[in-house]
Subunit: 305 residues, 2 copies
Amino acid sequence: MKPSRFEDALVCINGVFVPPEEAMVSIFDRGFLYGDSVYEVTLTYQGLPFLLDTHLARLKNSANGIGMDLPWSDEELTKLIYQGLQRVDRPRQYVRIIVTRGGGEIGLDPALSDGQNLFIIFRELPLQPKKYYEKGVSLITAEIIRNPKRAVDPNVKSGNYLNNVLAISQAKEKGAYDALMLNAKGNVTESTTANIWIVEDGVFKTPPLEAGLLGGITRATLLDLGEKHGLKMKEEDLSPHQVRSAQEAFITSSTREVMPVTSVDGQVIGNGLPGPLTQKLHDHYRAYVEQVISEEKKKASKYLD
Amino acid sequence: MKPSRFEDALVCINGVFVPPEEAMVSIFDRGFLYGDSVYEVTLTYQGLPFLLDTHLARLKNSANGIGMDLPWSDEELTKLIYQGLQRVDRPRQYVRIIVTRGGGEIGLDPALSDGQNLFIIFRELPLQPKKYYEKGVSLITAEIIRNPKRAVDPNVKSGNYLNNVLAISQAKEKGAYDALMLNAKGNVTESTTANIWIVEDGVFKTPPLEAGLLGGITRATLLDLGEKHGLKMKEEDLSPHQVRSAQEAFITSSTREVMPVTSVDGQVIGNGLPGPLTQKLHDHYRAYVEQVISEEKKKASKYLD
């Protein structure tokens, strides 16, 4: 097996910190055999975790969604994350928390599990290329549809990501940055790793959770922030045609914040440049990040040695 | 992490044989992070692999289904499997072959992979409890629907098995052996790890591949064998009601062969005992196994030291 490329990474396995090349899991772990796991990704600003409580709440929600307990309290997880962050000591950090249903006798029944496993990956998070924000990115509509809620709920962040892997492959084949995934009704759900938004008649629109998508933390934050700043925000079913003919479009995720989309299925969005309302919303978000991080600084002393 | 329980197991990782407690994979492997892997399970009779060529063909088919190459030839895989079987030297063996898209930079795009990994698990396969064949097993209909072909094709045997994990959880909660999974149209597809069959008006019926299910090797074998022996075999869409009111019902898989079903959603099938036509088909299957294995014996000398 090739050695990990992540010389910059640090991994915490069930509370023990190890270098990336020692970050191994048994092949009998259900996370490996069936993707029977849940995860979260957050990032740091100025070395401090961003909205960690909200991410931990969503981790719990994902676990509940597949009938899995979380044997680690938020407090324990927060402590481990702060310990890891102190060790790596870098301002911009990617933090991935993975909880598997563990090992045990081979078989699908979760009752066979003999105990869960926790993995936390810390690694440097490079800044997104500037050109993505200056020129916008391109999307295609994937032929692969998003897993329906009744099969594997997209609102559970799990180790089953083949659906999205297949969709992004289609995007890459066509030279696009990411793929929009539709539901069985043909409405837009989300991109493979981000939520999708458009501006139509001056209104910010994003598909509702009922369309079958992950309730993004950035998405929820923006809905609130927009309202607060007097912008018109709306959750509404969107057709691919609506996205292609929108005034502005963008995708959102924790690590990408608000990233303008300037082309969908080869069709230019608006005038082909990132839109002013997209930029305005991103500015509000950046200000909010500053505020959250300055509050986190006060809380942090509790966890720092 | 708890030690593996599989003291009886042997694992081959990229051609190297290791004991189960050393059978580890990097947590950066895409198989672990996203379930970006394919697999096959076969078994041995008299220590010899059963229909290995067919299983390897299906492994390739699964890999193609997610745009993955198989860098190991059938000949190389067969040699490794024979080497493992000689080492463990037991008549009844479970063999699981797993191929992941490997490690690399974290991200969904398969192009990030830096090379694939191969794992082969050899372990003892206990005989199925006799009572399952003498009394039949019970099924329930899961509320979770099977992943649709357009999202993650059930005909790909991949590391994304959460859909089935959720369905079997519902079965276990209700004290049933396994769960039937429906498609979005409400027709029956398969159980969580087996194909479903009924006997109706003397005709053996199983849902067509188009319903969205794994093309079971035992299923295909039985369709052929039945025809050959003058039984009436038919691939046909089945409603849950049809299954519940069938004359006979059974599930099929490599490791279970032909297992009678005598209760579905609490409703008794036929007279509540395994049916005579089910038994007849199983007898044909057993005779076929003998024949295949006696042919495998001739081929085996090529691989045995």
